[in-house]
Amino acid sequence: MNPDAVVIAVLVAAALAVTLGVALGWAAARIEPDTDSLVERIDALLPQTQCGQCRFPGCRPYAAAIASGAAEIDRCPPGGEETVRALAALLDRAPRPLDPAFGTPKPAQVAWIDEARCIGCARCLPACPVDAIVGAPRQMHTVIAAQCTGCELCLPPCPVDCIELRPAPAVSRRHRQPRAA
């Protein structure tokens, strides 16, 4: 093999690597989403109950709808006036009262299962948006109070109405603070 071939080979490989590197760097800088970080910041202010009272499947879809202008900031009863004010400040809009069509704020609560009445049907497990219910078919279920957001979504599926909501102990207010990144 003559020395020229080696030089050409090295040049071709280096050119390819540099081309790919530049193209990737350009793509990363060019395509990097800006709207996404706004969704993240709105999502961080929402209470993360995933209760669906805003008629969106969860807090993040609601945040995306606020960011795109498809929904107003007054749809989050679990967050209360406090969340509306924080959102208004973030988005530089005037605060507005909560829309009663989406429910009214309640004090923080957690679900509690009357274990004597639970028949172990496991129907509340898939309903829970944060997987705070522990249980298996034909076993008694229980609620992890620290994880429960008090969204009430487990109440309708229960065939024996053994789930009730109780005032939350102070520790379970964790979900009211912005999530850690």
């Binding site: 071709v12 490989a13 390819l16 690597a17 790919l20 193209a23 990363a28 990097e32 989403p33």
Partner: protein
């Protein structure tokens, strides 16, 4: 047209990349515990395989062959595949954050899927044209996805089956993969190359 159809049939079923060429076994075993993850991996691999086989053909035809650098193909293809995978990740993250979250670590992991490099090298060895390369890549990806999804479904059932202690976990998974490969041998004789 018939030629392309036979090529697609051959790459996806008769000479299935996982089950008869034994390429891409790492994700086949590694990402087959949960069905959702396997579906994400199958989709991402299909996309990357198609794109990478087209690009590697272009690179081979218009850069390596004219310069007489055919012996550099392994190095250059790996570089290209890594670039394509990174580009795919940037695109997916920008266009659909939800899909990006779903695929998670599997996107960058495709770089090390030997089926991708295998398709690029086989395209060169068999002297496929551009269209043939794309069809070959896409059907290899589809075949990989099919095998992966079937295997995942089997493994999810195996989790609840009464497997003898000594065979639990990886051993029974490998036995299952072997039986699947035997079953896929039934496709031999479909007449595709």
């Amino acid at each position: 047209m018939t030629e392309l159809l036979l090529l697609a049939l051959g790459a996806s079923l008769v000479n299935n990349f996982v089950l008869s060429n034994f390429l891409g076994l790492c994700p086949f075993i590694g990402v087959s515990r949960r069905f959702e993850a396997a579906a994400g991996m199958a989709l991402a691999t299909l996309f990357v395989l198609t794109l990478a086989s087209g690009l590697s053909f272009a690179l081979w035809q218009w850069v390596l062959v004219p310069l007489g650098l055919e012996y550099l193909r392994t190095l250059v293809f790996i570089l290209l595949i890594a670039g394509v995978v990174q580009f795919t990740e940037i695109m997916v993250r920008a266009t659909s954050p939800l899909l990006h979250q779903l695929l998670g670590i599997f996107l960058p992991l495709i770089t090390t899927n030997c089926a991708v490099l295998g398709v690029a090298l086989l395209n060169v060895n068999r002297q496929h044209g551009l269209l043939e390369s794309l069809v070959f890549g896409a059907s290899a990806g589809a075949g990989f996805g099919l095998a992966l999804l079937l295997f995942t479904a089997l493994r999810e059932r195996l989790d609840t089956a009464d497997v003898p202690q000594a065979f639990r976990g990886a051993p029974v998974a490998l036995v299952t993969a072997g039986l699947m490969a035997l079953a896929f041998m039934g496709f031999a004789g479909l007449g595709a190359r």
